[in-house]
């Protein structure tokens, strides 16, 4: 092969997510549909790839943000990035008992109810009840904690004291804050650019996919060393205690490959999730993650992202092997718009130095509410800007979440959202537009209106701009031939891999000749290991006698 001169920065693409926290009503629909799809199995009873936390609150697992305790993420050691829990030698030395592994109690002890007792209890004075039973050992249990026990600030100050973010703030701020407001924070795996779970896996089972940046666990390579569980500062890798393997949010990759949004996004009632392609410069990532000041991490990550409208970037992307329609999708990407153009989205806990790729638009509603309750016009731009500045407490809490404590980017994002509200209110009330509002936040009226369209109208096809997957075939022929969980050596979602690819809305195209036993045939009659509870020997666990294995 002749050497080809690279024309610009080397480019990689990632499908990323932005969540608009203003719209989250805390209904947990995303969590439930995700659980139904991915973790309604034995061994993953306690696992929520997607969970919704009330902030302030302890989160799930309890107090996961306290990295002094859990040692997740990276730290700088003499200017170099090392996993916070220690480098390779230290990890291997801790192989036989991981000192930072959360226990089931830190998540919660999963339980069910003994419904049988309702019908089989002997006749007596009292109505029979369905007493709780542990899902782990089947014994009677007392329910003392759950995945969102402190939902809506339930439990009050007693539980709030366990919020590591709140603990960083002064006593006065804490007390005032508890009375000020709450908001919801839906969380999935961050699919980081610099994933620490991948870095600490001794087996090399976790990997970041080159094509779309999704971080996955190779179930055949995972040996259950559990380092990833503690290495992830967001605690979004879980240990399946039946199969002995790590499992995590897959970003619903079979759906993403088919150009469909993730289950949590698709089913989001508030329509607050955005999915789209981001182009970034992989050479800048290591450097950006290692900037000395934590407060610079947000800006540093922003600088890793490339502008897909820049022809040089597009050329470099094509040279790096990114298909044309991915570059097209990157130009229309709502995620790129919210992060880089409008600059209203912020990363969750950039101080972990993992370069997370699920970003959040901080909630403005509590500020508006606080103003309204004090008798002010909550949507008057002058009041709003002033309030964002004056309501230091919410801003500093948000800054601890999204910018390592730097209030400036949070204020800027909130001001842009406030400007959008004020600007649109004038239009709705038939008043004359006031260009000063847009100028006050360094935007123009058209940009504000297009941001309004994306955030407030949030049309389905504008929220989700997902190109179909590439790599398995040239171009896109043969790409939409079913779910990527089907196929040789891969666990199909359904036993026998029925031709019902409708589940992922991909047209059932026959496999091109020459690619061997493609979707369906190779796994017919084989047992799906994803559904195995680790017990017994179900039929189809091993191939039929005489069946070709290669």
């Amino acid at each position: 092969m002749p050497r080809r001169q690279q024309t610009g920065p080397r480019v990689m693409a990632q499908v990323a997510m932005v969540m608009n926290l203003d719209k989250c009503i805390g209904c947990h629909t995303c969590s439930v549909t995700c659980k139904q799809t991915w973790t309604n199995r034995s061994g993953t009873e306690y696992v929520w790839f997607n969970n919704v936390e009330t902030r302030p609150g302890q989160g799930y697992p309890r107090g996961y943000e306290d990295q002094d305790k859990w040692q997740g993420g990276w730290r700088l050691k003499g200017g170099r990035l090392v996993p916070r829990a220690g480098g390779r030698a230290r990890r291997l030395a801790r192989l036989f008992a991981n000192p930072e592994l959360p226990s089931l109690d830190d998540y919660y002890q999963p339980w069910t109810y003994d419904y049988d007792n309702l019908t089989t209890a002997p006749l007596g004075e009292d109505l029979p009840t369905a007493p709780p039973r542990s899902l782990i050992d089947g014994r009677p249990t007392a329910i003392t904690w759950g995945p969102n026990w402190d939902d809506d600030l339930g439990g009050g100050p007693e539980h709030l004291a366990g919020d590591p973010v709140l603990a960083k703030m002064t006593e006065k701020v804490r007390l005032e804050y508890e009375q000020a407001y709450l908001f919801y924070l839906p969380r999935i795996c961050e699919h980081c650019l610099n994933p620490s779970c991948v870095a600490v896996c001794p087996s090399g089972a976790l990997y970041k996919r080159v094509e779309d940046g999704i971080v996955l666990v190779d179930q055949d390579r995972c040996r259950g060393w559990r380092m990833c569980v503690s290495g992830c500062p967001y605690k979004k890798v879980y240990f399946n205690h039946r199969s002995g393997k790590a499992e995590k949010c897959t970003f619903c990759y079979p759906r993403i490959e088919a150009g469909e949004p993730t289950v949590c996004s698709e089913t989001c009632v508030g329509r607050l999730r955005y999915l789209g392609v981001l182009l970034y410069d992989p050479d800048k990532v290591g450097e950006a993650a290692a900037v000395p000041d934590e407060k610079d991490l947000y800006e540093a990550q922003l600088r890793c992202f490339l502008d897909p409208h820049d022809p040089d970037v597009a050329r470099a992307a094509e040279a790096s092997g990114i298909p044309h329609d991915w570059i097209e999708a990157a130009r229309r990407s709502p995620v790129h718009a919210l992060i880089s153009r409008y600059k209203v989205a912020l990363p969750l806990h950039p101080e972990y130095r993992t370069m997370p790729m699920v970003w959040y638009i901080p909630p403005l509603s509590p500020v508006v509410d606080a103003l309204t309750t004090t008798g002010h016009d909550g949507e008057d731009p002058a009041n709003l800007f002033g309030a964002i500045d004056a309501l230091r407490i919410p801003v500093s809490y948000l800054a601890e979440l999204f910018t390592a404590g730097d209030p400036e980017p949070v204020e800027a994002a909130l001001c842009r959202l406030a400007a959008m509200r004020s600007h649109m209110r004038r239009i709705n009330l038939g008043e004359e537009r006031d260009p000063a509002i847009a100028h006050a936040v360094d935007m123009d009226q058209d940009t504000i209106e297009s941001m309004y369209r994306l955030l407030a109208l949030a049309k389905y096809e504008e929220r989700y701009v997902i190109p179909t997957g590439y790599a398995a075939g040239a171009g896109h022929e043969g790409m939409n031939d079913g779910c990527s969980l089907d196929g040789d050596g891969l666990p199909g979602m359904m036993p026998g891999a029925l031709p019902d690819t409708d589940a992922f809305h991909a047209p059932p195209v026959p496999t091109p000749a020459g690619t061997g036993s493609g979707a369906g045939t190779g796994l017919a009659g084989r047992f799906n290991l994803l559904n195995w509870n680790g017990r017994g020997r179900p039929s189809g666990l091993f191939p039929q006698r005489g069946e070709a294995t290669e």
């Binding site: 092969m1 050497r3 080809r4 001169q5 690279q6 080397r10 480019v11 990689m12 390779r88 990890r91 291997l92 192989l95 036989f96 008992a97 592994l101 226990s103 089931l104 782990i136 050992d137 089947g138 610099n194 991948v198 870095a199 896996c201 001794p202 087996s203 090399g204 990997y207 970041k208 996919r209 080159v210 779309d212 390579r221 040996r223 259950g224 060393w225 559990r226 240990f239 205690h241 039946r242 199969s243 002995g244 393997k245 490959e257 992989p282 050479d283 040279a319 790096s320 092997g321 590439y470 790599a471 398995a472 040239a474 990527s484 196929g487 050596g489 680790g534 017990r535 191939p543 294995t549």
Partner: protein, 251 residues
């Protein structure tokens, strides 16, 4: 009696070896998903944090001691001017300590497995078979180590037999005349190796030594079973790799 000795020390080791290698290969081929530690740390961490390292690190020393004791012939240590007394004192001290640590670790782990309901519930049938054998091997070995202080020199008996196995000329008498506890230890050891491929012991083969040489962040392409490095990670001269690869995949 002689026939039994030939069967036990001349034939059985080869059967076990065959079962061990073929079984492991079979398991790796058909059940790679099953190669896991099946850790129960999620259920109970306190006892494991003591028992786990104690048992495993002890076992690593014990294994190293076996390699030295069985593979290194006495003539070699003599040439290195290691006296018999020094050698055995060392074996007793290091081997005994490692063995005791392993046994203590195993005792703690067994206690945990029996007493913690969640861990007990997570115990599989193969576990139930392996644990007694493991405990028995360990106890027999410890007894042999303790007894070796006075009379029997295993380096002129058991070790000779062990090496002769690999020369495909088993020295049956060398083993047949060893004290009972040595023969018991060897037999139980063979039972353990026979159970190995069919139990969670296979996780010993997955010791992640490659981690020491690997870059922290692993990238993989979508195409299964085709490890591939993105040009962004290899260098500009490999910029054609994705195109090349996709062409290959399409073929």
């Amino acid at each position: 009696m002689n026939h039994l000795n030939i069967a036990l020390w001349g034939v059985l080791p080869y059967l076990v070896l065959a079962l061990f290698t073929a079984g492991t290969a079979w398991r790796y081929h058909y059940d790679r998903f099953g190669f896991t530690t099946r850790s129960s740390q999620l259920h109970e961490s306190r006892l494991l944090s003591i028992g786990g390292p104690l048992f495993h690190f002890g076992l690593l020393f014990v294994a190293a001691g076996h390699v030295v004791g069985l593979v290194v012939p006495e003539s070699l240590t003599e040439r290195l001017h290691v006296t018999e007394g020094l050698y055995h004192a060392n074996a007793l001290l290091v081997g005994g300590t490692a063995g005791l640590a392993t046994a203590a670790g195993l005792a703690l782990l067994l206690y945990r497995r029996l007493k913690v309901p969640a861990v007990r519930a997570a115990t599989s049938r193969s576990d139930r078979a392996v644990y007694p054998v493991l405990a028995a091997v360990l106890l027999a070995g410890l007894t042999a180590t303790g007894a070796s202080a006075h009379a029997y020199d295993y380096r002129q008996g058991v070790s000779v037999w062990f090496r002769s196995l690999f020369a495909l000329d088993p020295d049956v008498p060398a083993m047949a005349h060893a004290p009972l506890v040595y023969r018991l230890h060897a037999l139980l050891g063979m039972a353990l190796f026979a159970l190995w491929p069919f139990s969670r012991l296979v996780h010993a083969f997955t010791a992640p030594l490659g981690y020491l040489a690997r870059p922290y962040v692993v990238y993989r392409s979508r195409t299964p079973a085709r490890p591939y490095r993105h040009p962004a990670l290899t260098g500009p001269d490999d910029a054609d790799a994705p195109l090349r690869k996709r062409r290959r995949a399409h073929r």
